[in-house]
């Protein structure tokens, strides 16, 4: 027998929230759910209530002042979690407006006590507690508020109820006694940035456990609230002394599915690593990504593609070598997330869910440019940091990730990503256009493969109905990437032909 009391953690029924809370909601905790009007407080607590209420241990939902219950019932029942059959069965609503207006805090407390003792509920919600506070202030200046909150908290804990007080509190009001007494404090925000609205939740306090710190985005749909936990990366495990290099050498390679390119990469992409394919519009990035996924299917490795610039059906059909059959067979999942108001965490959730569902080994993000555009403006500011977390999370799952990035063809300087994200990836494949002997040609080069030897050649490649065919090395020319190429003889002295980049 342990000498420490175990705290049972309740599953809230809100996807993602249990993880953010640090493993669920502590049983018998006394919680405050705060936020501005429209932040989603009532929806959150009702979703939790319907998930936890049982016939033998029902939920009591006290409505006080504020949103008229008639309207609250009207709107909340639009959510899938609102089970009408449970009203007055496992879920009971009790209106306390009369007590709050006429009897004050003592009368409110008396009625809550009466109802709670009669029902022995597992869950108690007071919505809105803020209106109780205001009613108290109107009556006696709020002098008894601290005693009331203390009394309520003690009684509800004594009755073995997990409690939520819902209120439209401001961040400046955190000296309110209710915040001191509460075991848990969940703060909901909605922020507007340009034309985009983003919802976030923060667990400011949760006694007895460690919630994931910071702000986590959430979305409200007809299914209710879904939280997308902000990923905190685990520290890498220390490799055994002298073992890292051996691990790298022994790392299996993943074939890209393009003859010649695997050789250029030193045998393929190191499994479980990330590769960036950068190049100008139309250079063949998506085709290469399709090769990568199709090759995985051929080898029995399922794939997931996150598409940001086309609809999934268009993507599967229009890519040069087609993936529609593999998509129909469930070998490949295509994610097309809601554009323009995404958070990275939401995208990560979609990706990891699809990876786990399909047991996928390969992931494509096509493209980073489209991904950045699809994010709500507020998340674009820290795109690089968020992408770092995303890539680390995906490769941490053991999948090999290929990302594409559109690159403006410029010859004044050499760069591999418009986002400054090249350092995040383990390998980089660069595609460019060149003008050679009066023809526009595509060339490809492997810029880096972390901790691995790779080809340094610039290789010509072509795209046909069968996909990419890698050709010969561009020989006898120098300065191709500078915009001022010139031909050189095999001995490096005498020009044999002139080459010029576009």
């Amino acid at each position: 027998m342990t000498d420490k009391v175990p705290i049972r953690r309740l599953s809230t029924g809100v996807p993602g929230l249990d993880a953010v809370l640090g493993g669920g909601l502590p049983e018998f905790s006394f919680n405050v759910v705060a936020g501005a009007p429209g932040a989603g407080k009532t929806t959150l607590v009702q979703q939790i209530m319907f998930a936890l209420a049982r016939h033998d241990r029902p939920a009591l939902y006290f409505t006080v002042l504020g949103e008229p219950p008639l309207k609250m019932l009207r709107y909340q029942q639009q959510f899938e979690f609102f089970n009408i059959a449970e009203v007055n069965a496992s879920v009971r609503f009790v209106n306390l407006a009369k007590e709050a207006l006429e009897g004050g805090l003592d009368e409110v407390l008396r009625r809550i006590a009466q109802e709670v003792e009669a029902a022995s509920p597992a869950i108690v919600i007071v919505d809105s507690f803020r209106s109780v506070v205001q009613a108290a202030k109107r009556q006696n200046g709020g002098g008894d508020l601290q005693r009331f909150v203390q009394d309520l908290g003690m009684r509800l804990t004594g009755w073995q109820a997990t409690t939520f007080l819902v209120g439209e509190f401001q961040l400046t009001e955190t000296e309110d006694p209710v915040f001191t007494i509460a075991d848990g404090l969940l703060w909901l925000y909605q922020s507007l940035d340009r034309n985009s609205m983003v919802r976030k939740i923060q667990i400011m306090k949760m006694r007895g456990q460690a919630p994931i710190p910071g702000l986590h985005t959430f979305r409200i749909t007809n299914r209710g609230i879904q939280v997308f936990p902000r990923l905190i990366l685990d520290l890498p495990k220390t490799p055994p002394v002298g073992g890292e290099a051996r691990t790298k050498r022994q790392q299996p390679r993943v074939s890209v599915g393009v003859t010649g390119l695997d050789e250029m990469l030193g045998g393929g992409i190191p499994s479980g690593q990330s590769v960036l394919v950068a190049g100008p519009s139309g250079s063949g990035k998506t085709v290469l990504a399709t090769h990568f996924i199709r090759e995985g299917v051929r080898r029995g490795e399922r794939g997931v593609i996150a598409v940001f610039e086309k609809r999934p059906s268009e993507y599967a059909q229009t890519s040069a070598i087609g993936l529609d059959q593999a998509v129909r067979d469930g070998q490949v999942g295509i994610i097309h997330t809601r554009p323009l108001d995404l958070s990275i965490d939401e995208t990560q959730y979609e990706l990891t869910t699809a990876i786990e569902r399909l047991k996928a080994r390969r992931v494509v993000i096509d493209s980073l440019s489209g991904f950045e555009l699809a994010l709500a403006p507020t998340f674009r500011e820290d795109f690089r940091e968020s992408l770092y977390r995303l890539v680390a999370a995906l490769t941490g799952m053991g999948v090999t990730v290929m990302m594409t990035a559109e690159l403006e063809d410029t010859y004044s300087h050499l760069r591999f990503s418009p986002h400054g994200t090249a350092f995040l990836t383990d390998a980089i494949i660069l595609q460019r256009y060149l003008e050679l002997e009066g023809q526009l040609q595509r060339v490809m080069a492997v810029v880096k493969v972390r901790a691995s030897a790779h080809s340094k050649d610039l290789r010509l490649f072509e795209i046909s109905a069968d996909g990419i065919t890698v050709g010969e090395r561009v020989g006898d020319c120098e300065g191709l990437l500078t915009g001022s190429p010139h031909a050189v003889s095999p001995d490096g002295q005498r020009p044999r032909r002139r080459a010029r980049s576009r």
Partner: protein, 137 residues
């Protein structure tokens, strides 16, 4: 719904009841329903539903206007009863059933038919089936 209220009224007041008996029975039914509604939607919610119901029934029974006007002092039932007591027995019964049916329709327009039927079933389990209706999503 209407036949159920006819039966309830007849059971409460008797089949050959005089207007005062019909009026008293109608008020008891209204109060029984309000008792089940109040915890859910509060006194203000019950008063709002009641007031709107009287307004909608008023074109068919103009005398209900007084009852509605009295709603502000929280005693509409007394005035409904007073109105019904002074009607022909048939008219009184018809008016009482109309007010009850319209009240349920108003309530359903806010909280939905399923929840309304559930509350009616809790109030009068023998007359109303409380099973949720089939919904498609």
């Amino acid at each position: 719904m209407e036949p159920a209220f006819w039966r309830l009224l007849a059971r409460q007041a008797g089949t050959e009841a005089d207007p005062p008996a019909v009026a008293a029975a109608a008020c008891r039914l209204l109060e029984d329903f309000a008792q089940h509604l109040t915890p859910l939607i509060g006194d203000a919610g019950v008063a709002a539903v009641c007031g709107r119901s009287l307004q909608l029934a008023e074109p068919r029974f103009p005398g209900l206007a007084l009852a509605r006007a009295s709603g502000e002092d929280g005693e509409p039932c007394t005035h409904v009863q007073h109105f019904l007591e002074h009607q022909d027995p048939v008219v009184a019964t018809k008016a009482a059933v109309t007010v009850l049916v319209v009240a349920c329709e108003v309530l359903a327009s806010f909280i939905g038919e399923t929840l309304t039927r559930l509350l009616l079933h809790e109030t009068w389990p023998d007359e109303f089936d409380g099973r949720p209706t089939e919904t498609t999503t």
